[in-house]
Symmetry: C2
Subunit: 310 residues, 2 copies
């Protein structure tokens, strides 16, 4: 078997590996390379900051990683992990870590491969192609020793394919693999709806609590809004689906808030996440909507890289 | 078997009928009522303009209806259909038709029931519970005879459930059915990503072609944007996934455009869909992005109720 360094790099592509079904087993990196599952990159993560990440081979590199099957909590590269796989210095959102953020923004899918029977960072049981995963969310936090750590939630999503008889942008000199990729559709963003979020949105008549600009979508003047969970739903945050954990936001402010570009202080001031500049007061109808300060703190702690001093 | 009018109305609820699996067969309306699949409403559609629609029993009422299994094109109520099931007057977006728009805005799921072996508007083969469907889109068009018709695309989506150990807003006096509904999560909005939409977004550096306000989401100042298909992807529009059919928009303008609250004229002026007031010129980098006028016309024709004279 050839070593990774002898394999020529292949061009990046996003989407399912042709002819490989989720669950298929591979003995090693050479076979994953041959089947177009994982292009050579010399590491478990393939891609770049400008292109995004097209595949990951997970082999338990970090203590904070969690694999729950269809949901994976994946720790960023770097931070010099020790033998117990704990990071020993701050991680940075650069290189392929920044690539994973691009995956989230653009809905780029990752071919996810699981190392089996991992001992001392080696997959003794070979590898299994698990399917396509989307980056649903990323965040930063401080480890117990105080180092900055970035993490990503990957969620399985096989996407869909444009119907064969619908025109798709294609060049004459595309390979079969590129043509297949061009027909491939993923979810770039998914807004969730719950009973509690409907309640909060109705309190504000669907007008954003941050910018207060109604996104009018029908003749009657009714705006469109989204319920934003402050402490996020889902792993690993597991925020509750209750009125005190939800804001009524317009889609633009929702995207900003979910990405930590907007943070909210304990006294309900909205600030720019990066400059800490005051943007304004959160609009709150106190008699109907009590906001949980602990949820705001959890949201800020999810952006440990920028929330210090707030 | 009792007639529908003798059954007491039940309280509206959204989500899966407890104990009923997709595919289950029912002999008639009384059984659907007893199993909490379709509350009495005297018609095939249950709900209201303020609450949304919780269930539909389809029995081929309109010639323009299409049932492709997981995707259903559903024609609005009203318009006095003739014996050939063609409407004979304009339909209105009121009552339960407006309720379906609320379903779309809020991500409220519909319990969808199929009449089997339909002849002369009667389901001779009984009924099958097909599962939960979301309203993905609605539009208006002119029939061949010139009447205004409203349609909805329903897409099957079983949703997900909040984990049992995560807190959910609940009152002590809720019924079991209401408690189950409270744990139920759906997709309120889904943004699709394709190779062509990434190309268009990169042309504009992720800055909205309509409002030109960058939705900055990271420390580097990179904005978040979405690719908006002008002639929509999917049934029945089947717009192509090509650069000339895609705009780079911020989420707020995207929601407005998809709902016909913003329309674009042949000479690339953005106007308010309801008042036809000029909002501004679409920002276009002509050397890299040629926009298809036919796609803009198709988009306007999808809002036949408001696009006349543009």
């Amino acid at each position: 078997m050839s070593t990774p360094s002898r394999r020529a790099p292949k061009k990046i592509y996003f989407g399912p590996p042709p002819g490989v079904a989720p669950g298929e087993w591979f003995s090693g990196h050479a076979e994953l390379y041959a089947a177009n599952v994982h292009r050579f990159s010399g590491q478990g993560i393939s891609g770049s900051d400008r292109e995004g990440v097209d595949s990951i081979v997970a082999s338990g590199g970090y203590a904070a990683d969690r694999d729950e099957g269809d949901v994976v909590i994946y720790t960023a590269m770097g931070g010099d992990p020790d033998k117990q796989r704990h990071i020993t210095k701050d991680q940075e959102l650069t290189g392929r870590n920044a690539g994973l953020v691009l995956n989230e923004r653009e809905g780029l899918p990752i071919r996810f491969v699981r190392g089996l029977d991992i001992r001392s960072g080696k997959a003794r049981g070979g590898y299994q192609y698990a399917g396509l995963y989307l980056v649903e969310e990323h965040w930063s936090c401080r480890t117990e020793r105080g180092h900055l750590m970035w993490q990503f939630r990957l969620v399985r999503d096989e996407g869909e394919v444009v119907a064969d008889d619908v025109a798709v942008e294609a060049d004459d000199d595309m390979t079969d693999l590129e043509r297949a990729t061009a027909r491939y559709i993923t979810a770039q963003r998914r807004v969730r709806n719950t009973r509690a979020s409907r309640k909060v949105k109705s309190i504000y008549g669907n007008v954003c609590q941050i910018c207060r600009v109604p996104v009018v979508v029908d003749a009657g003047g009714v705006p469109y809004s989204e319920g934003a969970h402050i402490q996020a739903l889902g792993e690993p945050h597991r925020g509750p689906d209750v009125v005190s954990n939800i804001l009524c936001l317009c889609p633009n402010c929702h995207v900003r808030f979910d990405n930590g570009a907007l943070l909210i202080t304990d006294d309900l001031k909205v600030v720019d996440g990066f400059t800490h500049e005051l943007i304004g007061n959160l609009n709150v109808r106190y008699n109907q909507h009590r906001i949980g300060i602990d949820f705001l703190r959890q949201h800020r702690s999810r952006w440990a890289d920028r929330s210090q001093g707030l």
